[in-house]
Every structure is written in structure tokens, then in C-alpha cells.
């Protein structure tokens, strides 16, 4: 035995060094405790190992082991959120490669391997996972999609997926859907790689979310490092599991600290501020479970699982199989069996036994058509119920009456566009078919029927309005436009166009610029920013704007220190209670539903209230069968002060948009000024019709974040609408002065005969 111990001494010493370095990773350096001294002791012992007597060596080894155990216990007793982040970032933490090797029986990497890969940060594998039921082995085929950080391999980009990496993930999600096999997604990313090259970081994440919203196979996600949008790109799952020592956050603590502390680029962010932000962001597994942004926590060893924690992998395999079973069983109509099966499988956990490979029953993971439908419905229900960190104001009797009217309206629309519309379409189709085939002979027969049909289902008034549209009679530059003058025009001074040097633009007198010129440079066409009220007044028919859901207001669900004051200031500044305005309006008599994110309230950032209002507006457009316009005056991304409650709005809203589009709605997104990050990477970027107003900027991350993340500088016009158009992210650029006209044309041309408003 002792002989073996001597032989193993070298191994022990290596292990001790690893453990010391791991503790140093967690505590942010060797300065903590006596780590430095202990490491020195290990190194000395390594070099003098053969000079010592056997008993001396064993005593020394035992002492170091005991000391290390004590220190590990001490660290594990009180782990702060930033220490959890450090655990996740440690190169000794397990990665997807370890999971593939230890949880799955066999796997074949798809779409590249190792460095020979379209994006080594994203690994896709067709894998086999097994379950043992009464000593019988059953095989399940799954598609594993996840981020691979590697152990410091540079080509992995630390698990930051490039746009084409996310595209690869999406491609194989579709393969899994075709083959009818579940998807296991493993999230190990600090965030997406922020570049705009086609298919574009934001746009690709949006496409992924859009597809995942209606993916007809079970999806189970496991989060170890959930960095905001990058995590969501593969994270819209039916069940979300999270490692007990993982983090899932809207932004890195350093990023949040730089914003909170207003640290200039290149400046050092104080460590205390980073720690403070890490705690405020509520990014740990326990926090996320409380916020309901995840479903379950998978327990790791107290200091987090490392590459050689095989017990953890065994447990992870059990949990992934069980979670997939759960998703599959939820879709089954035979409820008694469903609850029995889930109960049986949960039994082991209840008894507090350690997990083993044994399952009581075998459940097949293939779904029938009706089960697939139910799966998608359940997913929708699940995400709609998430992320409710907003406040609802008590409404007056009048407002409640309004609600009753709304509900009556909804019933009316259900009948008008549901039952009757369906019949109307069927009858119309029949008439068209009959009349086209025997038009000459049957005209005499169909004509009276058509007349009767037109009498029963009269053409909507809107169509008449459109037919009567006369651009001269309702000029967008005439009487309607003269009613509102931007308050910016009240200053007696001149301003210079930023393109003056390039195009020789003359100085502009402010009353002219913001009055007659609508904030547009007459020489080069540069658009100066205008307040959102200008659009409310000039874009829609006068008096047609009717705001709704004002009672949903932004709150501070995470109790983020100092945010209440900021929120209060924003309310005082704007007179509004959230960064989104949702309203009914009409454009040349076409009724539409609008969601408008505007800059004055917390830079148009999206939190729970904004997400909820957006969802309700989208649902309203679906119920009332109207086109839905998302006009983005400005959005700065997801509101960091709401943590993952903000991030969860990305899949939530995208899912609702998907349902709206699938049911035949016309969804148009118009970007103005600055539109960045989460919203663009989800419910905005997924629109088939996206347009930029001239001089607007659209992108995923701003230049500073790109420089700090990738180390490369970007040209000054990197995010310009023109470049977004070149990359294919948007479909056109509109002049502000022609916004109303273009919007009307878009509604007319993009709306086919099957769109609601016709």
C-alpha cells in the first residue's frame, strides 16, 4: 500500500497543485488565505520528494491534504456570486466535451470537428444516451447542441458563438425536427461573439428563437454559463436545468459594473463594484430558480464540478433523461400514466438516494402529430407565464369597464374573423373555383350566388377607404403635418450637419431644421434625431392613436440597489411608466396595432413591463386581425437591472410574434436612431419585414463592447442602416419624411389577400 502511495505521490502533488489553483481561480488570486505558501510547499515537496524519508513524505502529504480540505470547506461555506462566476470561468470546470464523453454512450460531431469547424465555439453532435430499466438497456437518439469553451483553446473563442455557429445550431435543430429526435442543448457561453457579418449576431439569434418557438421536438437545456443573448440562441427549451454552481445573467458583472460606474473605455473597473453588481444581478442558480427563469437545479459538488467529477456526470445523465421524459409525458393525453410515470421517476430523489442509472419504466421519445401540437402549445404557455417582474396599477371603474368592452370585442372578433371568416373564405374559394373552371357557362349560375354572398359578407369598409385614397387630397406634407412642431425647433441657433465636411452641407437654422425640414439635412439627407412624439403626431391619422395597457408599469423586481431612484427620475422626466407605448392607430384609414420603444425612458431598454406590453399588443393585433407595427425609436437592449427577468423577454416575445405571424399577421419592424442588443436579437430581428429610417444604427453590440470583446476596432459606420441593408439584415431604408407614405405602401403591398386588415 505504502509502496503504491510513494508511486502515486507525484500524482497527488499534481492534484494538490490543481486544487490550489482552482481555489485561486475562485478567490481571484493566490493572495487569499495561505494559498501562495501552500503552493510553494507543494512545489518544494515535488522537487525534494526523493530526498525525504517515506514517513516524512506521507506526513507532509497528509498535512497538505488536510489543509486543502479545510480551505475548500471554508470557501464552499460562503460562496459569493462573483465566486460562482469565477468557478464557471475556471479552466478546470467541465465542458461540453466532458459531457459528451461521460453522459452519452456514443456521439458523432456534426458540422465540423475541433478546429476544422465553421465555428469551434458551437458543437453539434448526434448522440446516443442510454437508460437502464431492470437490467435492460434502452437507447435514445438525441441531437446535442452546445457551446464548447475548450480548456483554454484559443480557437474556441471562450464559447462565444459566431453568427454562423448559431446558424449551424439552427440547421441541426431542423435536422432533429425532421428526424423526430429530442434536442439536448448545453449552454456554456459568456455571450455571443458580437459581429455583424452575415448572418449577423443579432439577426441569427432572432432566427434561432423564431424557429425554436415552434420546434416540434422536445428541447431540454442545461445552463452552466448563461451569458444573455448568446445563451438564448439555443436556450428556448421546454425544460431548463441549471448547474448549482452555474450562472445565468443578462450581462457579465464586469459589463454591468462598467455601466453602473460609468467607467470610460479602457478604464479599470473596481473589484468591489464588480462584486456588488454580481450580487445585484441575481445570476446564481438559486436566484434564477426563485425568478422561475429555470425549472430545476442540478446539484454539483460544493465547489462546482470539475472534469473528473464522474458522479456529477452520472447525475447529469439521469437528469437529462428524466427531463426529456417529463417533456414527452406532458404531451401524452393519458394523464394517469403521465403522473404515475413522473412520480415513479421522482421517487429516487425524494428518498434522498444517490442517483443511479436505473429507471423504473422505459418511455419512448417519439411523438405523434397531436402530441407535437400539444408540445408547442405547452411551450407557449410556459414562456407566456414567465418573467412577470412588472407591476400592474389598480384600474379605475372606467378602465375595468373598458376591459369588459375589450372582452366583448374579443368575442366579436373571434366570431367575425374566426367562424364567419373561415366560412367566408371557404365560400369564396368555392365560388372562385367554380367560376374559373366554367366561367362562361356558369356565370349565370354563380352571379346570383355571389351577389347573395356579398350581401351576407359585405366588403370591409377599410377596403373602400383604400380605394378612395387620393394622395393629393391627403397629402402628408399639408394640413396634418403643420399641426405639430417639435419643441426642438424653439431655439434660435444653427447646427452643423455631421456630414458637412464630406458633402459641404451648410449650417442649418434650428427652427427650419426641426420645422420645415422635419429634422433632415436638405443637402445630404442626414436625419437628426427627433422626439418620439413627432412620430405619434405625424405618422398616424390625426386623432387615431388610442393607447392601451398603460397600467402595466416598470418596476424593480430584483431590488437592484439605486434603480428605484433611476426609475423615479425616468418617470418624472417622461411622465410615463415604461419604455414602451402600445396603441391602436390608423395609417390612411388602415387600422394597425403599434408597439413603440422610445429613448427617453431608460434608453428604450426592455424589461418585464415592456415585454408584457409588447406581448399584449401582439395578441391584440392577432385577436383584432390587424397588422402589427413595432416602431423602435430607440432601444438600448435588455434592461440589466431586471437581470434574467429581462433576458427571458427575448424568447417570450419572439414566441408570441411567431404565433402572430403563423396565424397570418403582418409584422413590420421599423428601426430609428439606435437599436441594439437583446430586442434586435429576438422579437425585432425575427420579423420578415425590417426597415431602417435613414441615419439609424442597428446592431448587436455597440463599438465599445466589440472592441473590448474581440480586441478589434470597427469602422465608424459599422452599424449604419446602409451597412445593415448591405448585410441583408434589413429590407429597406426609409426617409423620415416619407415614413407615413412608405408605411401605407408597405401595408398595401406586403399585405396579401390573406392578411387580416383586408
Amino acid at each position: 500500500m505504502d509502496q503504491k502511495r510513494i508511486l502515486d505521490s507525484g500524482k497527488y502533488l499534481n492534484e494538490f497543485a490543481d486544487r490550489i489553483n482552482y481555489l485561486a481561480d475562485i478567490k481571484g488570486g493566490l493572495e487569499w488565505g495561505s494559498l501562495k505558501e501552500l503552493l510553494q510547499r507543494v512545489q518544494n515537496l515535488r522537487s525534494n520528494m526523493f530526498d525525504l524519508r517515506e514517513d516524512e513524505l506521507f506526513v507532509e502529504l497528509d498535512q497538505i491534504d488536510r489543509r486543502l480540505e479545510y480551505m475548500e470547506d471554508l470557501v464552499a461555506q460562503d460562496l459569493s456570486p462573483i465566486e460562482v462566476v469565477n468557478i464557471v470561468r475556471s479552466p478546470q470546470r467541465f465542458t461540453l466535451q466532458d459531457i459528451l464523453e461521460n453522459c452519452y454512450d456514443s456521439f458523432t460531431e456534426l458540422g465540423g470537428e475541433g478546429e476544422c469547424n465553421i465555428d469551434p465555439a458551437v458543437v453539434v453532435a448526434r448522440a446516443t444516451i442510454t437508460r437502464r430499466v431492470k437490467n435492460k438497456i434502452y437507447y435514445h437518439q438525441v441531437m446535442v447542441i452546445g457551446h464548447e469553451k475548450g480548456y483554454g483553446e484559443e480557437f474556441r473563442n471562450g464559447g462565444c458563438a459566431k453568427p454562423w455557429g448559431n446558424e449551424k445550431a439552427l440547421r441541426y435543430m431542423k435536422v432533429a425536427e425532421t428526424e423526430g429526435i429530442p434536442i439536448h442543448s448545453y449552454i456554456f457561453t459568456p455571450g455571443a461573439y458580437p459581429i455583424e457579418d452575415y448572418p449577423g449576431a443579432a439577426q441569427q439569434i432572432a432566427r434561432n428563437l423564431f424557429q425554436m418557438a415552434r420546434l416540434r421536438v422536445p428541447v431540454v437545456a442545461f445552463i452552466s454559463e448563461g451569458g444573455s443573448g448568446g445563451a438564448e440562441a439555443i436556450g428556448l427549451a421546454d425544460i431548463r436545468l441549471m448547474a448549482s454552481r452555474g450562472y445565468y445573467s443578462v450581462i457579465s458583472p464586469e459589463g454591468a459594473a462598467a455601466i453602473e460606474g460609468r467607467i470610460k473605455e479602457g478604464g479599470k473597473v473596481p473589484r468591489e463594484l464588480v462584486e456588488h453588481c454580481a450580487a445585484q444581478l441575481k445570476m446564481t442558480a438559486e436566484d434564477n430558480l426563485k425568478l422561475k427563469t429555470i425549472d430545476r437545479i442540478i446539484q454539483e459538488p460544493p465547489l462546482g464540478a470539475r472534469r473528473n467529477n464522474f458522479g456529477f456526470f452520472k447525475q447529469l445523465r439521469y437528469e437529462m433523461v428524466r427531463a426529456t421524459d417529463e417533456v414527452v409525458l406532458q404531451t401524452k393525453s393519458f394523464r394517469a400514466f403521465r403522473s404515475y410515470a413522473l412520480k415513479r421517476q421522482g421517487k429516487e430523489k425524494d428518498n434522498g438516494r444517490t442517483f443511479n442509472d436505473e429507471f423504473d419504466i422505459h418511455i419512448k421519445w417519439s411523438l405523434t402529430e397531436s402530441e407535437k401540437k400539444r408540445l408547442v402549445e405547452l411551450r407557449s404557455r410556459k414562456y407566456r407565464a414567465l418573467g412577470k417582474g412588472y407591476k400592474e396599477l389598480r384600474q379605475s371603474v372606467l378602465s375595468r369597464l373598458g376591459h369588459a368592452v375589450e372582452s366583448v370585442k374579443q368575442n366579436y372578433y373571434d366570431i367575425r374573423y374566426g367562424l364567419l371568416r373561415q366560412h367566408s373564405r371557404q365560400v369564396q374559394k368555392l365560388i372562385e373555383e367554380v367560376s374559373s373552371e366554367g366561367s362562361v357557362f356558369l356565370k349565370t349560375v354563380t352571379e346570383p350566388v355571389r351577389e347573395a354572398y356579398d350581401f351576407v359578407f359585405p366588403k370591409p369598409k377599410v377596403a373602400n377607404g383604400i380605394n378612395q385614397y387620393d394622395p393629393l387630397r391627403k397629402s402628408i406634407f399639408m394640413q396634418e403635418w403643420e399641426q405639430y412642431i417639435s419643441p426642438l425647433a424653439n431655439e434660435d441657433k444653427t447646427v452643423s450637419c455631421p456630414n458637412a465636411e464630406k458633402y459641404g452641407c451648410k449650417d442649418l437654422w434650428v427652427p427650419d431644421l426641426y420645422g420645415e425640414f422635419s429634422g433632415v439635412c436638405p443637402t445630404c439627407g442626414h436625419h437628426f434625431p427627433l422626439e418620439y412624439q413627432w412620430y405619434l403626431e405625424n405618422l398616424f391619422d390625426p386623432g387615431s392613436v388610442r393607447e392601451f395597457n398603460q397600467h402595466i408599469i416598470s418596476a424593480n423586481p430584483l431590488k437592484f440597489q439605486g434603480f428605484d431612484e433611476k426609475l423615479k427620475k425616468a418617470v418624472e422626466h417622461t411622465g410615463r411608466r415604461s419604455a414602451i407605448i402600445t396603441f391602436d392607430a390608423s395609417v390612411f384609414d388602415i387600422k394597425i396595432v403599434v408597439a413603440m420603444l422610445y429613448s427617453d425612458f431608460r434608453s428604450g431598454t426592455v424589461g418585464s413591463a415592456e415585454g408584457e406590453k409588447f406581448i399584449r399588443a401582439c395578441d391584440r393585433a392577432r385577436t383584432t386581425r390587424r397588422p402589427f407595427l413595432a416602431y423602435i425609436h430607440t432601444t438600448g437592449g435588455i434592461r440589466i437591472h431586471e437581470g434574467t427577468l429581462g433576458v427571458i423577454q427575448m424568447p417570450r416575445c419572439t414566441l408570441v410574434v411567431r404565433e402572430y405571424i403563423d396565424s397570418g399577421g403582418l409584422y413590420i419592424v421599423v428601426y430609428d436612431n439606435n437599436s441594439y442588443a437583446g430586442p434586435v436579437a429576438s422579437f425585432l430581428g425575427c420579423s420578415p419585414y425590417q426597415v431602417g429610417i435613414r441615419s439609424s444604427r442597428i446592431g448587436f453590440a455597440g463599438p465599445r463592447v466589440i472592441r473590448e470583446t474581440t480586441g478589434a476596432d470597427v469602422p465608424p459606420d459599422y452599424h449604419s442602416a446602409k451597412n445593415a441593408l448591405k448585410r441583408g439584415h434589413i429590407q429597406g431604408i426609409w426617409d423620415r419624411r416619407e415614413f407615413r407614405k412608405n408605411l401605407f405602401e408597405a401595408l398595401m403591398t406586403m399585405g396579401g389577400p390573406h392578411l387580416y386588415y383586408k
Binding site: 434660435d492 441657433k493 444653427t494 452643423s496 469602422p715
Partner: protein, 214 residues
């Protein structure tokens, strides 16, 4: 010979600077932000997107414009008397004096005495194989070029075209491009020196390299 070696050298020795006079582009009140003798820098960054040093602010009708330096150099002839004054368009405010270094002077002299053959369009350029071998063998200075000689290959969109040299006869003195590089239209490709000027050019370069103190 129309260029006098001593005159040329004297010219650069007596005033080894390039002066850029800074004039106000339009009327307005001037607020100076630099001092006489202060070093200023021009625009920087990969796309020259970071503005240079702030020289002065010109304000007209409540619109203060920050006028930054387009050149790197030293502030000279600063008209401090204009501080806070309303000035007319075109009024000189200062001079940015840029000290020329050895290479810049050589480059200027060469541009004066050499015939520069520029890229006719944006493409990749190569020497024809015979020319490439000859240049390699005899070094550039001994290589004679006559009008009509097919010296270069222009490669664009998988199509190679031979370019016939159409400048004056001379010796190939300087090659401005790297073999196979993508060259913008109008960028210099070759510097051709008249044979009778060659010894003169070599002498000038030699003197500048040895005598000039950067």
C-alpha cells in the same frame, strides 16, 4: 539638367517643413485651444475616424464648432490677438508646421524627378515573368523601360491583361507595389528615371541619407 542638386538640397535644408495654414472656414468668434509651439496630431485610427487635436472653437449663431487638426506638427504663427474676436471667413489663425523626415524628403524629391506610372484601375499587379526575372537578376536600377514595353500584368476578376508602358523611356528606379497586392486606382506603381538623371538622383538620395539628421 533643369533641376539643380544644390538648390534642391538647400531648399529642404533651409526649411525642412511643410506648412499648413489654418484658415477659418466661415465667420464667427474664435476661441483658441492651443499655444504657440504646441505639438498637435492629425486624425488617427484605422479609418482616421478619431479627430486630431482641438485647435480652436469657431462659434456662429450659437453653434460652436470644434475645429481639429488635420495634420501632425507644431503650432506656429498663432494669432493670439484673434482670441474672442469675430473674424471673417478665410482669416488665417495659425500654421501647423510639420517637420519632414528623411524618408518624406526623399519621397518628395523622387516624385519631382521621377516619372510615376500609376495604376489604371483597382486590381492586382504583377511583373511579366521576363521582367520579374530581369529585375531579380540585374537589380531594378539597371532595367530599362521603353514606351510600348509590356512590363506589368493587371489581374482582375480572374482575367489577366498585359499593360503596355506608355511613359517616357528610362530606368526603373523604384517599385511602389508589392508583387500581387491589390492596388487602388491612381496609386503609384513604378518610378521611372531618365537615364541622364540617374546619377544625380542617386547622389541626392545618398547625401540625404548620410547628411540629414532626423
Amino acid at each position: 539638367m533643369d533641376i539643380n542638386l544644390n538648390d534642391l538640397l538647400r531648399k529642404y535644408k533651409s526649411h525642412p517643413y511643410e506648412d499648413h495654414q489654418i484658415k477659418v472656414p466661415h465667420t464667427g468668434t474664435v476661441r483658441l485651444h492651443v499655444k504657440e509651439g504646441q505639438d498637435v496630431t492629425g486624425p488617427s485610427g484605422q479609418w482616421r475616424h478619431r479627430p486630431g487635436t482641438l485647435l480652436y472653437v469657431l462659434e456662429r449663431e450659437g453653434n460652436p464648432k470644434r475645429m481639429t487638426s488635420k495634420y501632425t506638427g507644431t503650432v506656429a504663427e498663432l494669432r493670439t490677438e484673434l482670441e474672442g474676436c469675430f473674424v471673417q471667413a478665410g482669416e488665417p489663425v495659425m500654421v501647423i508646421r510639420h517637420r519632414l523626415n528623411k524618408e518624406e524628403i526623399i519621397d518628395r524629391i523622387l516624385r519631382e524627378v521621377l516619372y510615376v506610372y500609376a495604376a489604371p484601375q483597382r486590381a492586382r499587379y504583377f511583373f511579366t515573368p521576363e521582367v520579374a526575372v530581369a529585375i531579380d537578376k540585374d537589380r531594378a536600377k539597371a532595367f530599362n523601360i521603353r514606351p510600348g514595353d509590356e512590363v506589368l500584368i493587371m489581374s482582375l476578376m480572374k482575367r489577366d491583361s498585359l499593360l503596355a508602358y506608355d511613359g517616357p523611356e528610362g530606368v526603373l528606379y523604384k517599385v511602389y507595389f508589392k508583387h500581387g497586392d491589390l492596388i487602388e486606382q491612381g496609386a503609384p506603381l513604378l518610378g521611372i528615371c531618365a537615364p541622364d538623371r540617374l546619377p544625380f538622383v542617386e547622389k541626392v538620395i545618398q547625401r540625404i541619407r548620410t547628411e540629414w539628421d532626423d
